[in-house]
Symmetry: C2
Amino acid sequence: MTEINRALLRKDAPIGVFDSGVGGLTVVREIMRQIPNEKIIYFGDTARVPYGSKSQDTVTRFSGQIVRFLRTFQVKTIVVACNTASAYALDALEKDTDIPMIGVVKPGANVAADVTRNGRIGVIATEATIGSRMYPKYIEELNKNVTVYCKACPLFVPLIEEGLWEDPVTDEISRRYLTELIDIDIDTLILGCTHYPLIRSTLRRIMGDGVTLVNPAYETAIELREMLAGLELLNDEPPALGSNRYQFYVSDKAEKFVRFANSIIKYGILSAKSINIEEY
Amino acid sequence: MTEINRALLRKDAPIGVFDSGVGGLTVVREIMRQIPNEKIIYFGDTARVPYGSKSQDTVTRFSGQIVRFLRTFQVKTIVVACNTASAYALDALEKDTDIPMIGVVKPGANVAADVTRNGRIGVIATEATIGSRMYPKYIEELNKNVTVYCKACPLFVPLIEEGLWEDPVTDEISRRYLTELIDIDIDTLILGCTHYPLIRSTLRRIMGDGVTLVNPAYETAIELREMLAGLELLNDEPPALGSNRYQFYVSDKAEKFVRFANSIIKYGILSAKSINIEEY
């Protein structure tokens, strides 16, 4: 990793956050709640979404372009608010970057390794995140007595984007995906895709109360706050009124993004700006 | 449209075919059956799939890159084997191109306008294809006495790519999408996405035998043959053995493409080559 040049970073600079599309807004929501003084620049790669079915090379190339875009705003840190990009691209991105970065995989892995009692942890995520084996790798490094069971759930993102958050079809698909994890008797389940907290109540009902659901979005916001505090980079006071506190950029379909964003964040997102990410 | 420069085109040149991913292979399958003497260069934009939820600007930019890529093979014609790209981008592409091009929307529209008896035609397709209103536009130009009813079916592609071609969940989602078209008493249904022929038997069962299902892939191969014949560009004899008759290119995940391709085309696709389409 390139050394972080702390002297170049300002406390009142914004935090950059990116995702393949709208899922990363569940991370933004947690950052807004837990460190409300911060400014955020969000980028959703809606022209090339989804990442979860694509290769490491492609996801890494796309993520590199986004990091270059976010850095044009002099961000003080970048949050990779996408499990697939965190799993596939974070290591490579950190090598080239002199500002601190944080992904969603490690924070989720840390908590899961900590809370499991019977040593059986399940991870549900996209095909790419599961294929990367990053969750088992991190968790097993932290706790040798744990076994991690992984299940790719490719239909969850389309079902969630279609709005079927509470629906018999989502129930049926969830049951098919989760049965083997229930049979294995996991006691902890990582929601390893930033979309999945949106069907948390369905997952809760199917898994039962005995299983702890870990939401990496929540844990990432906590680790982000701690990291910024450690670097003395937390913003001391709220941004001035009218200072464009939260800005949203996308690579396609800004209006559709705004509609979906407002169903996730109750903040009243008024607009998002569309840019050509391939130019970065 | 730029004038076609017939003198530059050779009968034994390949046909270029492209799609956002694997769906266009249903068109390739029909071309292989109906004009077996032709060589084909196929490109599937698997790094940026799907197109059906994206904007006209983005789909047009992506399609332009692909046309530039296919032209490096001196193709004699290009088939836009994707309904969304045909609806959104074909007019713009033709303006810049001096070789003949054909999309899947007009051939499907032609046949539907011809076969309907009660003047009620349904179209099912992606959000983008439906939003473009190209099917109603073409059909109503051909036949003023027809009404076209459109229904976007965003979950069909993910369900088909997950392999649920015959499944109670696909039945349930199909019933939800199709109920209003059944209630309106359509007698003709256009499968306006190149993936949909793969769930033809489900759609047939739900719509009943009284409704004609129009597969634009089939109609496109017929129109392509007629167009090439009219231009005296049909290849007179089969390519020599070992001449790499069918070549497949993708922008990501060549191996996964090959697996899926072999479930559609019973030709035995051995390999696909991955290229960076953003460089074109």
